[in-house]
C-alpha cells in the first residue's frame, strides 16, 4: 500500500469517535439530501401531472395563435377526425377534443357570465381529472345531450342544483346569436374555489351546435403516460399536422409556463437550504481536519525533518479527507439509494394526504423520484465541499517550519 494512503487511513482511526462523528454527519446529510431531493423531484412530477391532468394535458394541438389570443373563432375544422388520427398515430386513447366559449348563464333568480368547455364525454375523463370531481349528480348521458356540469361555486351563485335548467346566451363563432337551454346534471367540486367558480362543461357536439361551429374545436388535448413520453409524442403530432400549417402542436412547458417557474422558484429555495446544510457539514470537516493537523504538528515536523516535502504532507491531509468524505459518500448514497428505491415503489404520504387526495381526485401518495440526479447531486456537492474545506488545514502545513513544529506541544 502506498505510504501516504496507509498513513492517511491509520491517522483517521487514531481518534475513531471524532472520525465517525464527522463521517456520521456526512452520512446523515447525504441520506437527508437524497430523501429530500428525490421527494422534491417526485412531488414536482406529481405536481406537473396533477396540473396537466386538470387543465392542459401533456400536449395540445391548436390553431396557430390561439394560445396567445384564445378567441372563439380561432377554431379548426375536422377536430374529431383529427383526434381519431392522433389516437391512432400515438397508439393511445387519451386524446380528446375541446372547445371553449363564453356565455351568460341564467337561472330563475340570477345571471352570471361563465366560461364553458365543450368536451367529448367519452374521452374527456381519459385526459382530465375534472370529470372525476363530479361529486353530486353524474357525467353526461350521451355525446349530444343538452346537459351541463357546473362548478359547485357557479351552481351556488346561480342558485341551481342537479336537475335544474339554465339558459345560455352568447355569440356563435359566425357572429350569430347563440342560445341554449341545458339541464344541470352534475356539480363539480375540486376544492379550489377559483376553479369551482369557473368550470362549466357540456358535450362537445352540443357546444358545437350552440356556438355554430360544427365539427370544430379549439384544441386536441393529449394525456400521456409520463413526462418522458412528451418529446416523442410531440414529434408524432407535428408530423401528423405537417400538412395543415394553420395548426401547431405545443407541449406542456409552452402551455403552462407558470408551472415550470413555480418549480424553479421552489427548487431555488430548496437548494438554498441544501447549501446551508452542506456548508455546515463542510465546516465540521474543516474543524475535524484542523484539530487533527494541530494535534499532529510535532509529527509533521518530524516528517519534514526526515525529508518529506510540505506538499506531500498537504496531500496526506487531503487524502484523509478524501477517504473520510468517500466513506460518507459511499455509505450515505447506498443508504439513500435503498431508502429512495423503497419509497419510489411504496410511496410516501403525509398525515391526511390520502384523505385529501381522495377528496380532490388526486394521488394520495407521493412517489419519490429514484434518479441519478437525486442520488448523486447533493452527496457530490457535499463531497466537493468537504474537500474544499480541507484546503485550509492542508495549506497550514505548507507554511510549517520543521524546528518550530517539533517544538509544538
Amino acid at each position: 500500500m502506498n505510504v501516504t494512503l496507509r498513513l492517511a487511513w491509520r491517522n483517521l482511526w487514531r481518534n475513531r469517535r471524532r472520525t465517525w462523528l464527522t463521517v456520521g454527519a456526512m452520512i446523515f446529510t447525504n441520506l437527508l439530501m437524497i430523501f429530500l431531493i428525490s421527494l422534491q423531484l417526485g412531488s414536482y412530477d406529481m405536481m406537473i401531472e396533477n396540473s396537466l391532468r386538470a387543465f392542459t394535458g401533456h400536449l395540445q394541438v391548436q390553431r396557430l395563435g390561439y394560445l396567445e389570443e384564445p378567441r372563439l373563432r380561432e377554431s379548426f375544422n375536422g377536430a374529431q377526425a383529427l383526434a381519431e388520427q392522433l389516437r391512432s398515430r400515438l397508439g393511445v386513447q387519451n386524446v380528446a377534443a375541446r372547445a371553449k366559449g363564453f356565455a351568460l348563464a341564467s337561472s330563475e333568480d340570477r345571471s352570471f357570465g361563465i366560461q364553458i368547455l365543450g368536451v367529448e364525454p367519452d374521452y374527456e375523463p381519459r385526459v382530465s381529472s375534472l370529470p372525476g370531481l363530479v361529486k353530486t349528480g353524474s357525467w353526461f348521458s350521451s355525446e349530444a345531450a343538452e346537459e351541463i356540469v357546473l362548478g359547485a361555486v357557479v351552481a351556488r351563485n346561480l342558485k341551481v342544483g342537479v336537475g335544474d335548467e339554465i339558459t345560455l346566451i352568447g355569440s356563435g363563432r359566425d357572429g350569430s346569436f347563440a342560445a341554449a337551454l341545458v339541464t344541470v346534471v352534475g356539480l363539480l367540486e375540486s376544492g379550489i374555489p377559483d376553479l369551482d367558480r369557473l368550470v362549466a362543461q357540456m358535450p362537445l357536439r352540443t357546444f358545437q351546435a350552440v356556438f355554430s361551429m360544427p365539427d370544430q374545436a379549439h384544441m386536441l388535448v393529449v394525456e400521456l403516460g409520463g413526462l418522458d413520453q412528451v418529446a416523442a409524442a410531440l414529434q408524432q403530432a407535428q408530423q401528423l399536422i405537417s400538412e395543415r400549417p394553420e395548426l401547431v402542436a405545443l407541449d406542456w412547458d409552452v402551455l403552462q409556463p407558470g408551472l415550470k417557474q413555480a418549480i424553479q422558484t421552489d427548487m431555488a429555495s430548496a437548494w438554498f437550504m441544501y447549501a446551508v446544510l452542506i456548508i455546515l457539514v463542510s465546516l465540521s470537516v474543516m474543524n475535524t481536519q484542523l484539530m487533527s493537523v494541530l494535534e499532529r504538528t510535532r509529527e509533521f515536523g518530524t516528517m519534514l525533518a526526515l525529508g518529506i516535502r510540505p506538499g506531500r504532507l498537504g496531500r496526506l491531509v487531503m487524502l484523509e479527507s478524501l477517504v473520510m468524505s468517500g466513506l460518507g459518500l459511499a455509505i450515505g448514497v447506498c443508504g439513500g439509494a435503498i431508502l429512495a428505491l423503497y419509497l419510489s415503489q411504496a410511496g410516501f404520504s403525509y398525515p391526511g394526504m390520502e384523505e385529501m387526495g381522495a377528496k380532490f381526485n388526486l394521488p394520495g401518495r407521493i412517489y419519490p423520484a429514484f434518479t441519478l440526479l437525486a442520488l448523486f447531486w447533493g452527496p457530490s456537492v457535499l463531497f466537493v465541499g468537504a474537500m474544499l474545506a480541507t484546503i485550509y488545514p492542508a495549506l497550514k502545513l505548507l507554511r510549517l517550519q520543521p524546528v518550530a513544529a517539533m517544538r509544538a506541544v
Binding site: L7, R14, T302, A305, L306, G307, R309, P310, P402, V403
Partner: protein
C-alpha cells in the same frame, strides 16, 4: 557529500523584547567519517548548530556546505530532498510516527525515497536486527520501551545509508545501560560504515565516546579538541 563546513554562522532569536544569540560567527569543518560531539550547557547553541547543518533552520548569516552543496542557499524543497537522501536524524524524544510499526517506521524514509519493497524490506529487517530489535518489527512505538524506540529511531536514521547522522541529545531519555548500548551502536556504525556522526549532548559519558569534542557557550565555539575516545565500541 560527507564533509561539513560552516563559516561565520550567525543566528538570533527574539523572545519578547529580548534578542537571544543562538550562533555567533561559528566556523567549523567536520571531516568525512568523523565522530563529533557538540557539548555545552543548555542554550549554548548546540541544537541551533545541528538544525542549521541539517537544513531544519535557516541561519541569519554565514555559509554551510555539505560536500559540494551550499545548504544555506537551498530552497525548501531542495533542503527536503537533501535531508531525505543524505542526512539521518536522531532526536531526543525519538519522534517515531505513532501509527506505523517499528518496521514501517524504519522503512518510511526509503519508501518516501521511492525504493521498492523488495529492496527496502530486507534492508529494514537487517538494520532492526543490527540494533537489537529482531522480532519486534510489528510493534507500534507505544508497545516499545524508550530505549527500543530510540533504537528504531537510529535504525530509521541509518537505514537509507546517509553520509551524515545528526543526533540531538539522543540519550537524554534513556537509562545509563541503554545509553551505553546506543553509543556503542553509533561508534560501531561510524567505524564500520564510515558514517559521520555529529552528536549534541551535555552528558560527559556520551562525550567520552567522541573523537572530537567541540564545546560551545553563548552561541560560540569555545574549545575544539581531538581526543582519544575513552570508551571503545563494545565487541
Amino acid at each position: 557529500m560527507s564533509s561539513v563546513s560552516c563559516k561565520d554562522l550567525s543566528k538570533t532569536f527574539t523572545q519578547g523584547d529580548e534578542i537571544i544569540v543562538g550562533l555567533d560567527q561559528v566556523s567549523i569543518n567536520i571531516e568525512e567519517g568523523s565522530f563529533v560531539c557538540l557539548s555545552g550547557p543548555s542554550g549554548s547553541g548546540k541544537t541551533t548548530l545541528l538544525n542549521a547543518i541539517g537544513g531544519l533552520d535557516k541561519p541569519d548569516g554565514g555559509e554551510i556546505t555539505i560536500g559540494e552543496q551550499r545548504v544555506d542557499q537551498m530552497r525548501k524543497a531542495e533542503l527536503a530532498d537533501m535531508r531525505l537522501h543524505n542526512i539521518g536524524f536522531v532526536f531526543q524524544a525519538y519522534n517515531l510516527i505513532p501509527v506505523l510499526t517499528a518496521l514501517e517506521n524504519v522503512e518510511f524514509v526509503m519508501q518516501v525515497q521511492g525504493r521498492a519493497v523488495a529492496e527496502r524490506r530486507p534492508a529494514a529487517m537487517a538494520i532492526l536486527e543490527e540494533v537489537g530489535l529482531k522480532g519486534m518489527q510489528d510493534r507500534l512505538p507505544s508497545q516499545l520501551s524508550g530505549g527500543q524506540q530510540q533504537r528504531v529511531a537510529v535504525a530509521r536514521a541509518i537505514v537509507s545509508k546517509p553520509t551524515l547522522v545528526l543526533a540531538d541529545e539522543p540519550t537524554a531519555n534513556l537509562d545509563t545501560k541503554t545509553s551505553a548500548q546506543l553509543m556503542d551502536l553509533f561508534v560501531e556504525l561510524n567505524e564500520r560504515r564510515r558514517v559521520t556522526f555529529v552528536i549534541a549532548t551535555h552528558d560527559p559519558r556520551i562525550m567520552a565516546y567522541c573523537k572530537r569534542l567541540i564545546k560551545m557557550q553563548d552561541g560560540k565555539i569555545v574549545a575544539d579538541d581531538l581526543q582519544q575516545p575513552a570508551i571503545a565500541a563494545a565487541g
